[in-house]
Each structure stands twice: as C-alpha cells, then as structure tokens.
Symmetry: C2
Subunit: 481 residues, 2 copies
C-alpha cells in the first residue's frame, strides 16, 4: 500500500500511461510477447464501449455474425495491396492436430478475405443485398514494439463488412458508419474527434478510400480512434462476389469495412486522465459512483454503514453503477486516492455528522480539491447524482475540446511548421497540395503525418504550406500513436 499513486502525467507522460493502466488494473502484460491481459476493470470499460457501439449498429440495421479465426494464406494473396500491407504482421499456423498442414493458415489480421469467400457463396441477386454484417472478434497483427491497449499483437475489435448493389449506397454506408463512430466518441467517450478522409498513403490496404476519426491525446499527439473504408469492388473482384442486378446483368458488389478496437480504451485514458490517474466519462465508467463510509469510533460504524447501504441501494435501483467501499483496515484517505486513481466520476462520503444532518458530501473527480466538493441533502439525492454525472460528462467533453482547439495551429510555410511542431506540438491545420512523396519526406523529417482531411473543411483550400501550389483541401498534420 506504500506505493499508491502514479507517476504524474506532467512529469513523464509515457510512464504515467503505463502506471495508470497497470495500477488501475485495466490491463497487464502477459507472458506471451506482445499480448496483453485485459483485467476485469478494463474489460468492463470495453463492455460499455461495445454495448454503446452495438446498440448503434443494430439501430441502423446491422446484424452480428462470426467468421473463422483462420484464413488460408492463399486468400490474402488474392488482393495485391492487401497482402502487401499485412504480410509483415502475420502469425502463421503451420501445424494442426499433430500434423504439418498442406497450406499454412494465417490468424486473421482483419477479415475482408474470408468474409468475401462467404459472400461470394451467399449473394446471387440484388435481392440478397445489402448485407450489413458486423463481427466482434479478436485479431492478430504481429507487433515488435507494443503498448498496452494502443498497439498489441492481439487485440479485440468490431469489424463491419457490408456489400451493396451500388457504389453510391456503399459510399453512403461508409460515411454513415463514420457518423456513428463520431457520435459514439463525442457523446459516450467525451472525445471531440475530427472525422475526415485519410490520404492515399495512409489508407487501408485494399480500400478505394478510408475515413477516420482522429483524436488529440493529453500529450497533444494524435490517435486514430476508428476507421471506415469504402472498398469499391476490389475484394469482390478478387473473390468473384457478384450479383444479378435489376437489369439481369452480373455485377461485382460494392463493399465497405470499418472497425473500432480496444485502442479506444487507450484513447479514453489519454484524453481525460490527469496527474492522479484515470478520469472516466460517466457514460462509460464501470463504476460511476463510489460511496465511502467514514467512522472513527466503533459505535458510529453501524449508523454510518447503514446509511451508506441505503444510499447504495437507492442509486443502484435507479440504474446508477455504484460501489460501496466498506473495506475495513483501510483508511478513508487511502480509499479516496484509490478511487481517484481509478477514475470514478463521483465519490460520496458519509460520516456520522452527515447522517445526523441528513446530508452527504459529493466530490467530482474532474474538479480536484475543495472546488469539486459539495454537500447535498439526502432528499432527492438520486436526482442530484444524475445531474452531476451529466455535468461531469459535458465538462469532460468541453475541456477536451478546448484543449484540442488551443493546441491546433495554423502555419504559412514548412519552416513555421517544423518550428511549431518542435516547440508546441499538437495539430497543425494547413492547406495541402503535396504528393504522397512529399508526405513521406515530411514524415521522415518531422515524424508528423497527415491525420486526415477533415470533412468540416471540405470545399476550403488556400496555398499549400509545403509546395506553395494552390491547394483545394485542408489537412491536419500531427505526430501520432
């Protein structure tokens, strides 16, 4: 218990992140290189993320299914860009049931190929379309340098794979999903993401175009928090996924794919956390309210615990995710620090005098110290708690939006670009008319990449900060995870 607390975020961001993940017991390193263990508290956070996304998918007509973990190596090779993109990251099964396999099997890094093999079998006519399938699954991409939640060899995600009778409908779908991701990020995770298009260089291996939601972390670096791709007919051609259209002609289907992964947990940690540890948005927090009963003398215990249990039951009955910390042999101060580190949005303290006065003390995790602490009457407490949870949720979004905006810069030329990146970091918003080669050069020289061309600025342009040419789009550059 001596080593309570985490490395302050302001002191060492990378160590802070690892400390928070390990000490808040969100995840742990596993004996298998590159793989992590998602511990119950981290998994409960992921379950809430999953539930909120799944609800949105189902409300827009999507259904879940499950496709095999293993993909024949030859399937990946059918789409040229796809195999080039993924082959350095593959885990390969060569033996099964004690025998060497005739053809090695790849552990899925993503499932476009195996799913197309099935769609090719299922789709006959336009009446079979659209197919709007999502899958919740584990995937494996071999990683050398791993970081809990952000970059691990195995991770959990959802991958949507849809097939449509027209390009227009498929492109609409890919955009609709990005809207869902944006809505989820903003309204559940309180992360003010920037939705936009990926550059040619950064798009998904096998896509016609890729769109993304980009978020700014607490160290001003960018994190890609979800992607939605329009695949055109690339995979359909590779797998012969064709349908009879209304004119009775055979045509390849038009497809999308899209995913959000356990990376989102990393985003939540890095966007909202502070020196003391995690700060969780109430709508995703596994525990929204913790109750800490406080007593000194043994004769106070019964009264205080009784009242704490009453409050616990009231909140639980009203659907609030609440925990009563009635551990003995642990001081209230220790409990305060512990639950602060674990990011619980509200803490309710109940002492003997509070019981007498029919009040409780509520502390907001997002406002440290006395300013976040208020006394409320016991009557109508449930309503007060609900309002405070909403207030914390909005305030986290506002704070993250302000932080992002304050750390988004505009520059006129490459010198300024490098200077701002060096001295300030953050996002750099610039008109762009460069080539993919220019992008590579900038990345080599500054580590910054085009995060996206925000939809928000579609139609805008200016003079390209790098080439000086007339630019018809606005890019956001940043160093990224």
């Amino acid at each position: 218990m001596a080593e309570q607390g985490v490395t302050p975020r302001s002191k060492d961001y990378a160590r802070w992140y690892t400390d928070v993940v390990l000490k808040a017991e969100l995840a742990d390193y596993s004996p298998v290189k590159g793989c992590m263990v998602i511990r119950p508290y981290g998994y409960a956070l992921w379950e809430n993320i999953r539930e909120q996304l799944d609800r949105r998918f189902k409300a827009t007509g999507h259904v879940n299914a499950y496709f095999p973990l293993f993909i024949p190596m030859s399937f990946l090779e059918k789409e040229k860009e796809h195999v080039e993109g993924f082959s350095p990251e593959l885990a390969v099964v060569t033996h099964g049931g004690g025998k060497k396999l005739d053809e090695p099997l790849v552990v899925r890094p993503t499932s476009e190929t195996i799913i197309n093999a099935m769609y090719a079998k299922w789709v006959r006519s336009y009446r079979d379309l659209p197919i709007l399938i999502n899958q919740w699954a584990n995937v494996v991409r071999w990683e050398m340098r791993t970081r809990l939640f952000l970059r691990t060899t195995e991770f959990l995600w959802q991958e949507g794979h849809t097939a449509h009778a027209s390009q227009e409908e498929a492109e609409e779908e890919a955009r609709r999903i990005l809207d869902i991701y944006t809505d989820f990020a903003v309204n559940e995770a309180a992360i003010p993401v920037i939705p936009g298009m990926k550059s040619e260089k950064e798009k998904f291996a096998g896509a016609v175009w890729s769109s993304t939601i980009e978020a700014m972390m607490g160290d001003k670096k960018a994190l890609q928090a979800g992607t939605s791709h329009y695949l055109g007919q690339n995979f359909a051609r590779a797998f012969g996924t064709r349908f009879l259209n209304k004119n009775n002609e055979l045509e390849y289907v038009y497809q999308t794919s899209w995913g959000v992964s356990t990376r989102m947990v990393g985003a939540v940690i890095m966007v909202h956390g502070d020196d003391k540890g995690l700060v969780l948005p109430p709508r995703l927090a596994p525990i929204q309210v913790v109750i800490v009963p406080i007593w000194r003398k043994e004769e106070q215990k019964h009264t205080v615990l009784g009242e704490a249990e009453k409050v616990f039951k009231e909140l639980q009955a009203s659907g609030v995710r609440v925990k009563l910390d009635d551990r003995e042999g642990v001081s209230p101060g220790f409990k305060f620090n512990d639950w602060e580190m674990r990011g619980v949005p509200l803490r309710i303290e109940i002492g003997p005098r509070d019981v007498e006065n029919h009040v409780v003390v509520v502390s907001r995790r997002d406002i440290p110290g006395k300013e976040g602490k208020s006394t409320f009457g016991r009557e109508g407490l449930v309503q007060v708690v609900r309002e405070l949870l909403d207030a914390v949720q909005s305030s986290l979004l506002e704070k993250a939006t302000r932080f992002r905006d304050e750390n988004t810069h505009e520059v006129r030329n490459y010198d300024e670009f490098k200077e701002v990146l060096e001295s300030e970091g953050g996002f750099i918003k610039v008109p762009w008319a460069g080539s993919p080669e220019d992008e590579v050069r900038i990345k080599e020289e500054t580590k910054a990449t085009i995060r996206c061309f925000p939809f928000e600025y579609e139609g805008e342009g200016g003079t390209c900060f790098y080439t000086g040419k007339k630019a018809d789009k606005i890019a956001i550059f940043a160093k990224a995870y």
Copy 2:
C-alpha cells in the same frame, strides 16, 4: 424457391440436422477445414444464450476479463494430464512477423494454463481471493470429423476460472455454477438436463472432479451441454499460484473452471426441432413472433399492411422480438413454411376480413396444423402474445421432459443393457460398481458411455448391472455426441 423444406427428422436425423442448420441460415461451412461460419440468425441465438448466462454470472459476483489467444507450448506441458489430454488437438503457430518463433505458440484449446500464469502474479494473500473471472472467447481444438455447432475446430464459449482460499469454497463454486447451467438450460433453453458427476474416465484433463449437464437429443443420444470442474491445486502447483493464508502460511489456491459453448445451439436445435425444421424456445428465439399480412387484391394491401404495422409496433414497444414479413412476390404459404422452418414460436396472420372483424389469427409453432391456430381479438393482443409465448416455452420443456423420461430405461444385466441400447436407444439408468477398464470395454462393445452420476440419485445404489457387485451409485449410460 423450389427446394424449400428440410429432410424430415423422422427420415434421416443426421441429414435433417444439417439441413436445418444450413437452410435456417444458422451456420455455414467455411473454406477452412473444420471451421464454421455462424450466420446472423445463429449468432443472434448465441447472443441470447450469452446474455442469459452472463446475467447469471454477474448476479453471482463474477466479472469478465480477457486473456491471450496464444499460449506458450511449455505452459501446457506443466500439467501432465492436461497436456496429454489436449496435445492431439492443438493448432500451433510457428511463425510470427515473418520470422520463425523461438518457442511455438499454441492457439488456446482452453485457458487454465495462461490464466494461472497471471493468477500466480496477482495473488499474494487471502485478501486477494476469491478471484471470480469469466472469459467469453474463441478456442481451437483440431477436429477431424466435424459437425456444425457440435464439433468444430474453432468454437465460441465462455470459460470461467476461479481461485479460492479453501477446498470447500472452491467445490461449492463448481457446484453453484452447475446449478446456474441447469437453471439456464431448463428455464431459458427448455432443455431438461440431468446434472451430475463425470466418471474418472470422462473427467476434464487436469481436474480433480468434473460435473456436467447432460441432455437427451431428439434421436435419444446424449449431449454434454456444459461442464464445471473442481481443479483442486493441480494447476496452482504447476504454476506456483500461492497465497498467504490467515495463519500466515503459503498455500496453493483451490480452483475451478467451467464452460458452455456454441454446442448449446446444437442442443437447442436437436431437442426441440421437428420434421419441418427448427422449433425455438421463445426465451432464446431471435424472432419470437412473425407477422404475415395477407391480401389478394391491390386495394386490400393498404389496409392489411397498415394493420400489420400497427400490431408490429405494439408488440415491439412491449419488448417482444417481432418481425413483419412484408416481402412482395412471395406467397403467404411460402412465408408460413419459411418461418416454420426457422422455428419462430408464434405466427400472426392478418387478412382483410381479420381487419374488418378486429381479430388476428395466431399459430403456435409447437402445435402443428389447425390445433395450434386460434383467432384472437385485436384488443389486448400484447397480453395474449405474452401468455402464448410463455405457454410455448413451458410446453416445450414438458414435451422434452416427457420424451427423456419415456426413453430412460432400467436394466438388470449387461445382456438387457445391450438389447435395450440396440432396440430402443436412449438413456439407461443403472447401479454401477465397475472400474474404468469396465467402462472402456462397454464403450468398445456398445459405443455407450457413462454420461454422469446424477446428483438426483446421490446416496442410492443397488447391484451393478455389469459386475454384479454392490453399487453405491447410479449411472446414466448412453451413446453420445
């Protein structure tokens, strides 16, 4: 559309099963040998199973987590019986990220070993116990002869892994879980399972004892539908999972593990299905009610569809999982057969005259023909539907229980045993005092195995039908999936 319908169950049970799975679009074969694709309708059934189990786990203090897919080969080798049991079924990853691995990784066939490696790290004192963790995951066991849902190389399941400070507490946990499984099977799946102990020969590789729920399928064969194991300190010793007990002594933890898999979908199909296809218990059915609007003339269409939509909305608002089949170009008769084959518990027909008379016709899937068909007033329809769903649920359980009891036989000696097994099949309930070698011999000669020693008959005995010795337990023998 010509090939509607399935092979009648009474004609060819095995073909019937495969027909139902494929034609009701529950699952499909995949291009990867031994692996199946779970299609949306089958996955929705699995989601309902999962939700009902998960709810029960959480209500009894369990939490979910996630452990790596890959397990170092050396981990499996630490528990002797465990590796012997699983090594013929392993899929092995030998290459990752383009390189040969120093140590091959096994794709988890079950996770006792990797989880113990973590528990050994997490557990220090009795205060850290119990650990009550469950994981929803995919596992791989290489299979030569596969059958959709029943036996596939990859399958989905939940695996619980708990650690306790005493043998008593751990054994209680293993029994509690089997109670949960029984409650789920009986009350959600309408499957009258028999909970009991596995014989030494049939227990889990590495367990002290294994318990099981055994169900009788429609062809009178047995299916193991869930298992709960008391592991003692076997894995704890292998991995050094120790804790300081209250006397300040280092002691190995006492463990359990338990699982239910996508096999349960196979059980639901085989217990309730009939010649026409699937019959789903309402509590698990993805679609509980299908509405089929019927019209002949174009001018009736508007009225009938309007009414059908009204009924749809009323049922949906009240939480019933309902579908409106408003497909055009498909006859009502075709729709009836289609939804019967897919096992939807209730069908509501609405024609022009029904609209005039303020009535609807409701057909029960579990009672074929006119007997299952009744006309109800529009008023109070939601209540009627709820009651009918409950009635179907109970009636399926009653029918399955009657079928099981009618096909459970008692015999006095091995000759009778063989004769009954040959002529009748089903379960054979007998006093047992044989050895594991006797069990093997009976299996070789008759294909029947001890399914379990039912808890229901604990304390009972008699004269062993095989050895003639005094028996202190009752066994259920059967041929099994």
